[in-house]
Amino acid sequence: MRIFVCIKQVPDSAQIRVHPVTNTIMRQGVPTIINPYDLFGLEEALRLRDRFGGVVTVLTMGPPMASESLRKALGYGADRGLLLTDRFFAGSDTLATSYALSKLIEKAAEDHGMPHIVFCGKQTIDGDTAQVGPGIAQRLGLSQLTYVSAIDEIDPDKDTITVRRRADHGVQVLTSRLPAMITMLEGSNEIRRGTQADVLRAAQAKITQWNAAGVGIEDLSLCGLRGSPTVVKRVFAPSARSEKAVMIPAGDGGSATAAALIDAIFERQPALEEDLISEAGGY
């Protein structure tokens, strides 16, 4: 099975500092990580490879330093890393990014064959749009399976896949044809710890690099800032929310404390109380 995983190198949001004076984001010295949502796709890809055999290719678009993220992905056990890097891509929004990545996937498909599945993160922690995955699916004509919590079945003969997907009011079970683009839900799995062999191979691996011309992009007006109709209007530091913790004193017995706790919850979530009452068929 040929599986591609799209990842993005993002600043570690847990370690970002806002400059106390100018209120701008201080990027200097902030470590970068693989977008955490991408790791659920990577782990699912590795599990499919373990089951069906095949090759997991990890790809990203970014500055040359983004190869570090690919290397890290190899350390988790991925087989191959591809980096798309070119100054023409600077300032890309989701439209331009999904264009560039789909060109990279097409290029890689020439060398390695069209993927059966392309995994993407549900969204990134620095952009939060959740648009790049669907954008790639649209451009490449892949079935689109977003917010997937589990892959139930893959039928290699019929080229179909059955997944569970989180929907507004429950779980959808969907069967679709391959190739497909899948975004995995957070918590659907846990990224594995690579073996000694994995991390050694990752540390010594050559990361294949492509530029815009290399993946066959001729019209540069579709790339970078020029190809990005999205405009950032304003960047600001949100004021901290001041919700306070509520102390519920331990009552005479456990049931009194539980009742106080339930009352406190219902007071803040009246809808939940109604739901529970109606579910219980009323008192």
Partner: protein, 435 residues
């Protein structure tokens, strides 16, 4: 997995490990470096001051690229009592030179840069991997390391233990004993952010100039310890540390309580005013001196940096000793490698000889008696004398109608009252330890 045998495995990516790995990789050796942190510098804590000389020996033009904060033009040494300080300030424009001698740095950034040089020199570096033990052949020669990842282990002709102060691998492998509380200090530090202009006007500096304050006195509540304050470009590092044995014996507050008191001290408060604390860290510092140095070489292994207890507590030097010991171990291994000689305990003894010939062991030996002297005289030196000194200064500088001879007598009497003949003894002991 194919069993690759590296020329050397370096355990750890701090200044000692990076220096060893860089020097060996640069000489063409096949080096594997293993770091437990997410990246080099992610786990490393220091004040921090970089001493150029030790790094220049390996990377002469490091100033062009390395992330440096400020070069130091002024050193302040303070003896503090509860209300203020008496001290010595040394500042010179001579330090505004082409190749400055000391810099403040932020270790997370500096170590990351240094480690990139290691990789560019050709070493293979693994992160988020903890070495759990040594692999030996039937004769007891160390031939590799085992890690917390699944696998058969990694193999090499020699293992350089640059694992830091705790020396857990060495301990677990029976190469060294557990750290004694008397030999190790626990230091805490905070980073306080301030606008660049504020730092510059507050410390009377411009451009990349920096100021360093080292302090001792009643701030450690009579325990053996020191405090520091360093200016970075847009932040101030402030910290305090005491010997672990003192913290548990005297029990006058946790390190953080000491730091809180230090920050509120009249001599310090104004320097930090308006700043925002953004980071805090704690670390152990091996301060036992020469006598606490463990076995440094064995069959197939050597020990460098904090793991070898290489800290000159009197001069606040450590990272330079780490870099130098890392480099000297590497040079020893390189010459054995070029001659095709095995890294036996005997052959690696050349590392010990290189240390003896360098400033490292000379300095370690010079101050070998200081820790013992402090163990006995700690509170006198940390508490009594700073109080006396500040009292004397006040007597001397206040103008109150008394004649100067009377003031001199009062100062001498005050000292005599507190220490009596002990004064003489203290002077002799200090001179002996310093010799």
């Amino acid at each position: 997995m194919n069993k690759i045998v590296f020329d050397a495995i370096v355990v750890g990516a701090g200044p000692a490990g990076n220096s060893a790995a860089y020097t060996m990789a640069n000489a063409g050796l096949n080096v594997l470096q293993i770091e437990r942190g997410e990246y080099s510098g992610s786990k490393n804590v220091q004040g921090a001051i970089l001493y150029s000389d030790a790094l220049e020996q390996m990377i002469p033009d490091f100033r062009e690229e390395a992330p440096l904060e400020r070069h130091i033009v002024e050193q302040r040494i303070w003896m503090m009592d509860d209300r203020g300080h008496t001290g010595m300030h040394h500042r010179s424009d001579d330090y505004n030179e082409d190749l400055p001698n000391r810099y403040t740095i932020i270790r997370a950034q500096f170590d990351k840069w240094f480690n990139r040089q290691v990789r560019d020199a050709g070493a293979t570096v693994l992160y988020e991997t903890t070495v759990t033990g040594l692999i030996r052949d039937p004769r007891g020669q160390v031939i590799g390391v085992q890690t917390d990842r699944e696998g058969e282990g990694f193999y090499a002709n020699v293992v350089v233990l640059a694992e830091g102060v705790n020396g857990l691998v060495g301990q677990r492998s029976g190469l060294r004993s557990e750290l004694r509380p008397e030999d190790v200090a626990l230091a805490v530090k905070e980073m306080h952010f301030l606008p660049q202009e504020t730092i510059e006007s507050r410390f009377n500096i411009t451009g990349d100039e920096g100021v360093v304050i080292e302090a001792m006195g009643t701030i450690t509540e009579g325990m053996i310890g020191t405090a520091f304050l360093y200016t970075n470009r847009e932040s101030i590092s402030i910290g305090i540390g005491c010997l672990v044995s003192e913290l548990s014996r005297v029990g006058k507050g946790s390190p953080y309580q000491l730091l809180d008191r230090l920050k509120a001290h009249p001599s310090i408060r104004g320097l930090l005013e308006g700043s925002e604390m953004k980071e805090y860290a704690a670390h152990l510092i091996p301060e036992g001196g020469y006598r606490a140095i463990p076995e440094l070489v064995g069959d197939g292994w050597v020990c460098v940096g904090d793991a070898g207890h290489f800290v000159n507590a009197v001069h606040r030097e450590g990272s330079n000793l780490a870099m130098t010991t890392g480099r000297l171990a590497a040079e020893t291994i390189i010459s054995l490698n070029k001659r095709g000689q095995a890294c036996t305990k005997k052959a690696l003894g050349a590392y010990r000889q290189r240390l003896e010939d360098s400033f490292v062991m000379k300095d370690m030996k010079k101050y070998k008696d200081v820790p013992r002297m402090l163990e006995k005289q700690g509170s006198t030196i940390m508490d009594t004398y700073p109080r006396l000194m500040n009292g004397a200064a006040q007597t001397w500088f206040r103008v109150d109608g008394r004649d100067k001879k009377a003031k001199e007598n009062e100062i001498v009497k005050a000292a005599w009252r507190v220490r009596g003949l002990g004064l003489l003894g203290d002077a002799v002991k200090l001179a002996r330890a310093w010799r």
